[in-house]
Symmetry: C2
Subunit: 333 residues, 2 copies
């Protein structure tokens, strides 16, 4: 009744922005991501009759009640699906630079879903695993797969057709994803809250929805043709549109800081001097810059030279879920 | 056949953004502005049979052919309306800090329309004068009036119902408008070009149009009630929406620089510490901050303390068109 799984986080090139069902994590639009090779979560799960509640260790420390509650909600779903009623001890190691604006929830819930379903003895395919991971955190459904991944929003009310699929294997096209770490400032608007306020109050949300499918088709075509310029232009445009919806919210808000702007301007300058580099920004101030591996060193150096930049992490397309030999660090009974 | 007029520039609180007719300067939406007491143009016009072409002096210097051509186009309209066929010598003094993002076209064409129609002997009301000024530059139609001014977009194809009206006299409500001058950088996208690209390619332009009338009604109610917080919130929201349309254009563009962001963040900080201050931004990187006169000194000091800020100009609501005794500095024959 025990298993260990490893999942990598992912960065959206075409953004997941807006939910049609908050509880089931069903999105308003399809999205597209790259799974990243350097940032991951390793999670061990052991179900045992000796336990009277779930226990969750995060980076070697017993987690808070709030953190454990989220884990238990996903375990409840897995217990319901499997018919097994035991509690579990969950032991997670996160190698995700959360300060650089990466949520550990994508890799975290993907690894938890994989380890828990295996430990409990469910025999499921990756597509079903993707729908289960989605119930922990929307973008987790994409981290089941490696490389370039599309999340199909689906149409059904129960969400069974809302899962991710691989568009291109990680070995088929190498790109560089540079994560720019800025001076940490308090995040004023959480992504969940920002998403909701944009959907409910922004007059621009409709324009987002009307054009995101076209962006996604262009991005998939670019990936299939290995056309980096085409991919870069559409991912940057898509990120700008996502952020424009927040400017139209009531009251308006912005995830950017002035340092965010410095990085965006530097990327534009790099392009003007002949380097193909494009940025994307999630629901926070940090910027991710995509370039081709041959330009990686130069582009990273240019970004590191900016005053408000504290560090730049280098990633490439990484693999999907893998299962590791179970290492029992935390005992149940 | 000679006259001199003075017109002040204005700052839009509800933006003019998008033309329905490029040639007649007919806007897609109503807009609302404050005429500013410190920034103005004084223009003398003399029609004379001795001239074989229009001559235009700008700040004591004979203007370029391109500059003169724009002036002549408005004079052509006035010659057509009046039936008088003489050329003119035009002598303009601009006291507008163009580096701070103020176009001198609003005060310039308002003063030209006023001086030229008077010099040529036309007896017209201010409403007609407003439509004539509009043909030189859209926002010039608002500079005919003092204080708080609304530009009615009108419905007619010939633009005769597209003119400005005073909402509140400048003496009825005092506010402070601080114009923040940042380090000058080259303006990459002209406002005319940015407007056109947003109307034609931005999926957010429809959302702009659908909500601007409501913003305008809120702003007028706030002015009538002298409710500064209400006015500030809606003017800031409206500016954010205008700029959001540019993020959705294809290709996307931004008028902001990182210094723009520093000023916006400072204004938010000021609000968090209890000062009512709100920003607006036109088609460029510079920021205008509105506050109440009692807070003017403190807010100006806080803005001046920012590193990229070079200067902060203080304005209050100013008067509309006035006619001055004619001072002949440039002779025709």
């Amino acid at each position: 009744m025990e298993a260990t799984a490893k999942a990598h986080t992912n960065i959206a090139l075409i953004k997941y922005w807006g939910k049609r069902d908050e509880e089931l994590f069903l999105p308003m639009n399809n999205s597209l991501s790259i799974t990243l090779d350097q940032f991951y979560t390793i999670t061990s799960v052991q179900f045992c009759e000796c336990l009277t509640a779930d226990k969750f260790y995060l980076n070697e420390t017993l987690a808070t009640d709030d953190e454990t509650k989220k884990i238990s909600e996903l375990l409840d779903l897995i217990r319901k699906l499997s018919g097994v009623k035991m509690f579990a001890v969950v032991d997670s190691l996160n190698k995700v630079p959360t300060a650089a604006g990466f949520a550990s929830s994508a890799s975290g819930f993907a690894a938890l879903a994989a380890a828990a379903t295996k430990a409990i003895g469910m025999d499921i395919d990756e597509q079903t695993l993707s729908t289960i991971a989605r119930r922990g955190s929307g973008s987790a459904c994409r981290s089941i797969y490696g490389g370039y991944v599309e999340w199909q929003k689906g149409e059904l009310l129960d969400g069974t057709d809302s899962y991710a699929e691989q568009v291109l294997h990680e070995k088929e096209w190498d790109l560089t994803i540079l994560s720019v770490l800025l001076e940490p400032k308090e995040k004023k608007i959480l992504s969940r809250e920002g998403m909701r306020r944009s959907v409910e109050t922004s007059p621009f949300y409709q324009g987002w929805l009307e054009t995101v499918d076209e962006d996604l088709e262009v991005a998939k075509q670019a990936i299939n043709e290995r056309n980096f310029e085409m991919l870069g232009e559409v991912l940057e445009r898509n990120a700008m549109k996502m952020h424009a919806t927040t400017l139209g919210a009531n009251p308006p808000f912005m995830y950017w800081q002035s340092a965010t702007f410095d990085v965006m301007e530097k990327v534009q300058e790099l392009r003007e001097s002949g380097f193909r580099a494009y940025f994307t920004i999630d629901a926070g101030p940090n910027v991710k810059v995509l370039c081709q591996p041959k330009d990686e060193e130069y582009v990273r150096g240019a970004l590191m030279a900016l005053t408000p930049v504290q560090d730049v992490y280098t990633c490439h397309p990484g693999p999907g879920i893998s299962y590791l030999p179970h290492t029992k660090r935390k005992t149940c009974c």
